[in-house]
């Protein structure tokens, strides 16, 4: 299971404030806490600063790099921001994200190639987010194929089932789980990823929904998540689920984490 720590995101109010005030200590503390919690990547997002995004992102990455060498996930829809992030972040970057919409695809592929990055692939095209399982699956299929033609092998692709809030329609739960299952069986070399907290929008005790969904999704073939690694219950459940799915030989990770 690959965990990407989601906390350094400028759409969160505390982070936006810390970025605006250049509160490096606060941001560095969050980076270290996420590292200590065992994340594989730290997501960085400065998108809330609109036209100042590049400057703020540059500063954020520098500040994070002063305290940790963990690989980063560069989170922006802007190709310029992704490229800048790659130049500053060092090796093993994840680009968050690319879609099947042609303009987006064409502008981001060169960055994946130049910096030899991994990428989170969102199966949506110019028609937007589909509600139809078959259609989402077929967009995912052609997106993975198109990336392959550009030299991006499946093991560098994190495919996302585009989880939507079950508060608005309860079919979104099974829709996401079915897609994860189909992605896992049809594209076993890719990773299946999701942004976890979306699923619980609009509901009480969101953490409970996130935790339950994560376990169900892992059982369906999810093997990466963008999530809050400081949620201790969630992290423990990830480790227990891995042991239960025979992904943790002799349960040693689980034992060591719980001891």
């Amino acid at each position: 299971m690959i965990i990407i720590g989601e906390l350094l995101n400028s759409t969160r109010e505390k982070i936006r404030k810390a970025l605006a005030e250049k509160d490096a200590a606060f941001l560095q503390d969050l980076a270290i806490k996420q590292q200590d919690a065992g994340v594989s990547y730290i997501d960085v997002n400065a998108g809330a600063f609109a036209e100042r995004e590049l400057d703020v992102l540059e500063w954020l990455i520098k500040v994070v790099r002063e305290v940790t060498d963990l690989p980063l996930s560069i989170d922006s829809p802007k190709p310029e921001a992704l490229a800048l992030g790659c130049r500053l972040a060092g090796d093993d970057v994840i680009l968050n994200s690319i879609t099947a919409e042609q303009n987006n695809f064409r502008s981001i592929v060169p960055i994946i190639r130049e910096f030899n990055t991994k990428v989170i692939a969102l199966p949506m095209d110019h028609t937007g987010l589909s509600e139809d399982e078959g259609k989402i699956f077929s967009i995912a299929n052609s997106l993975i194929e198109s990336l392959g033609k550009e030299g991006v092998s499946p093991d560098r692709i994190f495919i996302d089932p585009l989880i939507r809030p079950i508060a608005t329609n309860t079919v979104y739960g099974p829709l996401a789980l079915n897609l994860i299952r189909r992605f896992a069986s049809s594209f076993p070399e890719t990773r299946r990823i999701c942004g976890l907290s979306n699923v619980s929008f609009g509901l009480p005790k969101r953490k409970t929904v996130n935790q339950t969904f994560l376990i169900m999704a892992m059982a369906s073939g999810l093997d990466a998540a963008i999530m809050d690694p400081l949620d201790e219950a969630l992290m423990s459940q990830v480790k227990a689920a891995q042991a239960l799915l025979d992904l943790d030989p002799y349960c040693m990770n689980y034992i060591n984490a719980m001891r």
Binding site: S10, T11, G47, A48, F49, A50, E51, E53, S76, P77, K78, M124, G128, L129, P165, A167, T168, F201, G202, L203, P204
Partner: protein
Amino acid sequence: MNLLDSIKDNVICGNSDLNSPIRKGERGVKELVSQALEQGVSPREILDEGLVKGMDVIGRRFKANEIYVPEVLIAARAMKAGMAILKEPLAQTGSKPLGTLIIGTVKGDLHDIGKNLVAMMMEGAGFKIVDLEIDVSQEKFMNAMKENPDAIVGMSALLTNTMVGMEGNIKAFREAGLSNPVMIGGAPVDEEFAKKIGASGYAKDAATAVEVAKQLLGLN
């Protein structure tokens, strides 16, 4: 309970009709509105004292975090079931809506949950809704504004890279001489941003959107 209170109560609990899963088998908003019309209650009174009052309670409870998104959605569905019956009689009696709201998610953004919640609460408060849906171009907003010169415009965004489009939109509206009040909302925007781009109002949630819209029309 009198009939209008009962309509209000069934909007609040989300019982749209006899077959809805809420209070299954009990008459819902649809049947009760029909009954009220048969008894000669005026359509306006059914709307104001039944449906709108119900949605008003939903709005207040949602804002106070006492109820959650699915509860708002089923209440709105019940309200709409009543509106479907009332539409014709309201038009016949020449009853006018509180105002008109043109609403859409800005260009490049495909998110509709927040936009839909606002549209529902505004409709529940008695506004006529012109829903331009998602990924709405400047031109589309402007055409709707020309057709509805008295309307308020509501623009929504969830993405940080689309919120900047709001600024260009407002500029273009004003340059084209369209003076409709514009309110904005969505996760990445705030009061400060609204002021900066010259929006007339900012609402942090759907219930607040109703208050802001009423203020903009001088109704509060």
